[in-house]
């Protein structure tokens, strides 16, 4: 019997943080203007110790004005989507649940587009609207996915697919009202893209990320039991309704947060938690932080590839995750998770 200990959680997370740092350095290094690892480290260290005057202007522009904001956005989006995916999988007791598959990302995208059309210059409106769209879609899919009062796995996925295509149709309809330039930008954005910086201060977005991931993390020992069966969890003293409400709100918020800044990037919420389960086990007390970090690593690397693989042309990062995610996921499913 080797139960999970806080020490093990800390060690695993420290290892993944180191990997994330390595991914960030790689991403900072690669691009049209290559910078050596030594220069990157010096640039980061000099800023950290307050010696900004010692950083060459070129390096400052490339690291702090161009590459790092985009990388941080990738960290935010990857951590949000992966944690939301792990949360939805427990909430809906379905291993294939993911914000994208369930149509929740489409709901968030619709909310974001409506806010862009209705109130394009209001700070924070897009995040709020994306959250409302995600929450509304989760609730709709949850109720449509029930059969005979019980959540049915196949019905739930079908409800998600139907919701996604229905919402996409509305999005298409709304897009016909836009001008040519906006239309191209939005179509690109809908595929998942990290090029446009959010209008809101990123500090607020990271605060929301910490609140969302933290809320789900605090329910993780309850989620372990809910995964064994809701009725059994109730017998063991879990307040199932409260836990589900917390996870529902937090996972919807995280999806809204991610979609509002990057569009609908698919498969991250599905792929990352499953890989983490295979590497570190199914315990949510370890799965939530490792999924958040793993998601961040995946998006940072995927975006680095997306902007370099056919440079100077950039691919949307959503296309990269779908290209990598779908085959890897099929391989993993066939290999059995153990």
């Amino acid at each position: 019997m080797r139960p999970l200990t806080p020490r093990r959680v800390a060690w695993v997370c420290a290892g993944l943080c180191a990997l994330l740092f390595a991914a960030v350095v790689i991403s900072l290094r690669v691009g049209a203007y290559p910078i050596s690892v030594r220069d990157i480290v010096m640039t980061l260290v000099n800023r950290a110790i307050g010696h900004r005057d010692q950083i060459p202007a070129d390096f400052w522009n490339i690291v702090y004005e161009i590459r790092l904001p985009r990388i941080l956005l990738g960290v935010l989006v990857g951590a949000s989507l992966s944690t939301a995916g792990a949360g939805f999988q427990a909430l809906l007791r379905n291993p294939l649940a993911d914000p994208y598959v369930l149509g929740v990302s489409s709901g968030a995208a619709l909310g974001a587009i409506i806010s862009l059309i209705a109130a394009p210059h209001t700070a924070g409106a897009i995040q709020l609207a994306a959250f409302a769209g995600a929450a509304g879609t989760t609730a709709a899919v949850y109720f449509l996915g029930r059969r005979g009062g019980q959540l049915d796995s196949a019905t739930l996925l079908l409800a998600g697919i139907v919701a996604a295509s229905f919402l996409s149709a509305i999005i298409m309809f709304l897009m016909t009202t836009l001008s040519g330039r906006d239309l191209r930008g939005m179509a690109f954005w809908l595929m998942g893209d990290l090029t446009s910086q959010p209008s809101i201060n990123p500090t607020w977005l990271f605060l929301l990320l910490i609140i969302g991931v933290g809320s789900i993390y605090l329910t993780s020992s309850d989620l372990n039991l809910i995964l064994t069966g809701e009725q059994e969890a109730r017998h063991l003293g879990v307040n199932v309704h409260r836990v589900k409400l917390v996870v529902y709100v937090a996972a919807s918020m995280l999806t809204g947060l991610a979609v509002s800044v990057s569009g609908a990037i698919g498969y991250v919420g599905l792929l990352v938690p499953h890989v983490m389960r295979m590497l570190f086990g199914t315990d949510y007390r370890l799965l939530i932080p490792t999924s958040a970090l793993g998601g961040a690593i995946l998006i940072v690397l995927a975006d680095t590839l997306a902007r370099t693989i056919v440079a100077p042309t950039e691919l949307p990062v959503g296309a990269m995750t779908a290209l990598a995610g779908a085959p890897v996921f099929i391989y993993l499913m066939r290999r059995r998770m153990r």
Binding site: L4, Q89, T228, G229, V238, R285
Partner: protein
């Protein structure tokens, strides 16, 4: 004064000499319940007022044909539903008033296991029984591991601890589910048709184990079952339900009347009394 003191000492000695009667652990008083499709529609099923008691170290079998209200009664005893009238008390406290964790520390319910979403080892599953004793994120302590190990040993499943749950046989799984319930250290153990997927050997073994748990660990055990003869053999008390009514409560010999059983189970049944004083039910004309 000395007489009084002497008399008090004599009384105290007498109190020590007389074995203490097992305390009443579960008290059900006129508890009833009704299910309806919606709040306003007529009830689809009604469980009439039921009253009975269960003491420490007792095994109580709840018997009845399908749709007689056995599982509904069990949900009232487990505190999952609040009785519409009457009350259910465990150790003197009304079950519906207990907070969720306290309730899980006193009452454990063993049902057929739900399908596991992700693979789990036996020891991980049994450790879940320690949940009611933890705080927020509750990383398990050494004491939790010790108690989970003891629970596995009590059901003879020590050797299974590193196996995957989905690779166990029906009987092994039943023992592990029971071990998780024991890890809760409950005073009241409720089992919903635990013998359903077991062969006859497994059924007898499980009931013997329950008998031992009741005798040695002072658990009070309530078993919902269809097994008339096993209930007669192992239970101290029988609660007989029929169409939502509690027809009779008593020792097996008091409840097992041929006419009553025939009416309830709608089958030609005979009852013969064995030398042990426990009845045995046989199908009429089967000999």
């Amino acid at each position: 004064m000395s007489t009084l003191v002497g008399g008090g000492a004599a009384l105290a000695a007498q109190a020590v000499a007389v074995p203490k009667a097992p305390a009443v652990r579960l008290k059900v008083e006129q508890a009833s319940y009704a299910y309806a499709a919606t709040d306003r529609s007529a009830p689809k099923f009604t469980l009439g007022p039921a009253s009975f008691e269960a003491k420490q170290q007792e095994i109580v079998a709840i018997l009845g044909p399908n749709a007689s209200g056995k599982s509904t009664l069990l949900t009232l005893l487990a505190g999952l539903n609040k009785p519409l009238s009457g009350r259910v008390e465990v150790d003197g406290t009304e079950v519906s008033l207990l907070d969720l964790r306290t309730r899980a520390q006193r009452i454990a319910l063993v049902q057929q296991e739900s399908e596991l979403l992700f693979p789990l080892r036996v020891w991980e599953y049994v450790l879940q029984g320690r949940y009611p004793y933890g705080r927020r994120l509750r990383f398990e302590s050494e004491e939790d591991c010790l108690l989970a190990g003891n629970a596995l040993a009590q059901v003879g499943a020590d050797a299974l601890r590193d196996r995957w749950m989905d690779q166990l046989s029906g009987g092994e799984k039943q023992r592990v589910i029971l071990a998780r319930a024991l890890a809760q250290q409950p005073s009241l153990l409720l089992l919903d048709e635990p013998t359903q997927h077991l062969d006859i050997g497994g059924k007898v073994e499980l009931l013997r184990r329950l008998r031992r748990l009741a005798d040695e660990h002072r658990h009070t055990v309530l078993v919902v079952t269809h097994e008339l003869n096993l209930a007669a053999e192992f239970a101290d008390r029988i609660v007989l339900l029929h169409k939502g009514k509690c027809l009779r409560v008593g020792m097996p010999a008091e409840v097992y009347e041929p006419a009553l059983l025939e009416e309830v189970f709608e089958a030609p049944l005979e009852v013969e009394m064995r030398a042990s004083g426990r009845p045995r039910v046989i199908l009429r004309g089967s000999r």
